[in-house]
């Protein structure tokens, strides 16, 4: 019951935030220098005054700003995010069509990052002053400093020309389209480089976090008890220590969803991955504002959803929060 009330509060807050994002979207478009109709006309390669007046009426630009804003909000409430004049289809459809590819990429990168990060962190926590531990620290620093698009291009260079064992372009094999299980395998193969590129950025942080927490946890009394009971070291590490190390990592993963998404924009551009990132890139090139604003709104939706989900998972892993009031 407490959980439901809590969740309801979170959702109400989310709705308020999203409404604010929409209002900002609207204001941004109208604050931007240049008449939107002129921009649209420019994109079409020029238009006569009559056409411009017609466009103005069509987009409701002949009404007052406040009226326009309520019209806009009303449309969004009905799922109408405007019409992309470059892709020539409704923005909502465009986004929903691209969303799965980005979610695959994000999920795969998270797996890469959490897995490698935790393993490196745990390894280096066992001997905090050992050579391996220092190596992990250096690696973490380097991983943080390397621009994601640069790592992507270097991997593209490596696997595109020097050692061509992995596909470096797109999501599927266009020449030999596959179906069923072979299709899934094909997508997975195309996913390897993009997800490693995106995942590496976060490995640094997760390994550092895992290391610090693991050192903390390993010096705790209950670990000493577990060892004293004669449990094998592997069981102590994995069953007792790791569980408590994972809690802060889950939190950070959830809070970083926005960064993950922004990173996906860059990675998708490098590897021509057909997700939202590509969509952003194309709409920037064409100055396709409705699409850009739609993506901004949807990314806010995803970040909020990720935050709420993290909160729930956190409550599931950590019984202390479940028991006590927030």
């Amino acid at each position: 019951m407490a959980l439901l009330t809590h969740l309801f509060g979170k959702l109400a807050n989310a709705v308020a935030l999203l409404l604010a994002v929409l209002v900002m979207n609207f204001c941004l478009i109208h604050l931007a220098p240049g008449d939107p109709v002129q921009v649209i006309a420019g994109e079409m390669g020029g238009a006569s005054p009559e056409v411009i007046a017609a466009l103005r009426a069509k987009y409701g630009l002949d009404h007052s700003l406040l009226e326009q804003m309520f019209t806009y909000l009303g449309k969004v409430a009905h799922g109408d995010f405007g019409y992309s004049y470059y892709f020539n289809q409704p923005v909502l459809g465009l986004i929903l069509q691209r969303l799965p590819a980005t979610l695959y990429l994000a999920a795969a990168s998270l797996v890469v990052a959490v897995l490698i990060g935790t393993v490196l962190g745990v390894i280096s926590a066992r001997r905090p002053n050992g050579l391996l531990s220092h190596g992990v620290t250096v690696l973490a620093l380097a991983g943080h400093a390397a621009p994601i698009f640069w790592t992507g291009l270097l991997l593209l260079l490596l696997f595109g020309s020097v050692w061509p064992i992995l596909p470096v372009n797109g999501m599927t094999d266009v020449v030999n389209p596959k179906t069923g299980f072979a299709y899934a395998a094909d997508v997975a193969k195309h996913l390897v480089l993009p997800s490693i590129t995106l995942g590496l950025v976060f490995v640094a942080q997760y390994s550092r976090l895992a290391r610090v927490n693991m050192i903390d946890v390993l010096s705790a009394d209950y670990i000493r008890t577990a060892r004293a009971k004669g449990l094998p070291e592997r069981v102590v590490l994995v069953k007792h220590a790791l569980r408590n190390t994972l809690i802060p990592i889950v939190t950070v993963v959830g809070l970083q969803f926005g960064n993950l998404f922004a990173g996906a924009v860059l990675v998708e551009t490098v590897y021509s991955w057909p997700g939202m990132g590509r969509l952003v890139f194309d709409s920037i090139l064409r100055r396709d504002y409705p699409t850009l604003m739609g993506v901004l709104f949807f990314s806010a939706v995803m970040v909020i959803a990720a935050n709420i989900l993290t909160d729930l998972v956190y409550r599931l892993i950590d019984p202390r929060i479940r028991a006590g009031a927030r």
């Binding site: 935030l17 604010a20 994002v21 900002m24 941004l28 478009i29 604050l31 931007a32 220098p33 905090p128 620093l141 380097a142 943080h144 400093a145 390397a146 621009p147 994601i148 698009f149 640069w150 291009l153 270097l154 593209l156 260079l157 595109g160 020309s161 610090v212 050192i215 926005g258 960064n259 998404f261 922004a262 990173g263 924009v265 860059l266 551009t269 490098v270 952003v280 890139f281 920037i284 090139l285 100055r287 504002y289 850009l292 604003m293 993506v295 901004l296 990314s299 806010a300 970040v303 909020i304």
Partner: protein
């Protein structure tokens, strides 16, 4: 000699007077001394100085216009263009030298904007609390919901890819973490006795914020400022990479963005500017670690 003098002084005055405490070391000097003890911090500082010297002195040592076409496109590194040429036949080394000026300036100025906005918001929220805090936290929450890079992309697309717009956009989207940090520090300090004493002595809010609380909240803020520079450099790179760089000003990000489609034809045109960004961000984060050790001795990383 000095040892003798001091021992003489000791002999003459066996009991050190209470008023004559050892000469106080200024906090800045103490921090500097502590910083010099951190090998990674010193390495970062040296690397950063080298990069700054390269971009500052480069034009005298290597007077080539980065926007001039000096040879055939995609010429491999050779004597007349030590790092090769790009897709238009422009000199990559000249691009690195001049591009560094733009990139490092954007990084520094954007970080400054980030910190000024973040500290102002955080200080007001943390100091006043109540509805001011509630309102500012809501605003920060709003900004946190939008992925910063994406938000910056939208801003630059709408207001045009100029170096000034890019810098402002980066500052405008990345202030929330500095604000959160400052807010926490101010809330912690607000109720300490010496602040209360100051308040009781009749100090105004502005005086309290700027002269009493802020100096004490400074250490973590300085660390986050160092880190903000690295983030801003990566931002500039990302925006330019997506075609949102200022096409009239050479920058490291612009070089990568413009040459990225030809990476298989001319690896040097993207690898070198990328390495430059990498080194700059690495240098700044090493310095940040060193500064952290110097100003937060108690919070030293394990």
């Amino acid at each position: 000699m000095s040892t003798m003098e001091s021992s003489l002084a000791m002999a003459q005055k066996p009991l050190p007077s209470v008023s004559k405490v050892p000469k106080a070391v200024s906090p800045a000097r103490a921090a500097l001394r502590q910083f010099m003890k951190s090998p990674s911090g010193v390495a970062g500082a040296i690397l950063l100085l080298l990069l700054l010297a390269g971009t500052a002195l480069g034009p005298w040592l290597y007077p080539v216009d980065p926007l001039d076409i000096v040879g055939l496109p995609f010429a491999a590194p050779a004597a007349d263009a030590p790092l090769g040429t790009d897709y238009l036949g422009r000199d990559v080394l000249a691009g690195l030298i001049y591009g560094g000026r733009a990139t490092l300036t954007v990084g520094a100025v954007a970080a400054l904007i980030t910190i000024v906005i973040g500290v102002t918001v955080g200080a007001l929220a943390g100091f006043f609390g109540g509805w001011v805090d509630a309102l500012l936290v809501k605003i920060a929450e709003f900004f946190q919901v939008l992925p910063p890079l994406l938000f910056a992309m939208v801003l630059v697309t709408l207001f045009g890819p100029k170096l000034s717009t890019i810098t402002l956009a980066i500052g405008a989207v990345s202030w929330t973490s500095a604000a959160r940090l400052t807010r926490a520090e101010f809330m912690r300090l607000r109720d300490l006795d010496f602040i209360k004493a100051s308040r009781a002595a009749g100090a105004g809010s502005l005086h309290l914020i700027l002269r009493v609380v802020l100096p004490n909240a400074l250490p973590p803020i300085i660390v986050s400022a160092t880190l903000a520079i690295g983030t801003a450099i990566l931002f500039e790179g990302g925006l330019s990479f997506l075609g949102l760089g200022d096409p009239n000003t050479m920058s490291w990000g612009l070089m990568i963005g413009q040459n990225r489609n030809y990476v298989l034809d001319a690896w040097w045109a993207v690898t070198f500017p990328g390495a430059a960004i990498f080194l700059a961000v690495l240098a700044v984060s090493l310095v940040g670690d060193g500064v952290n050790d110097a100003v937060n001795p108690r919070l030293r990383r394990r």
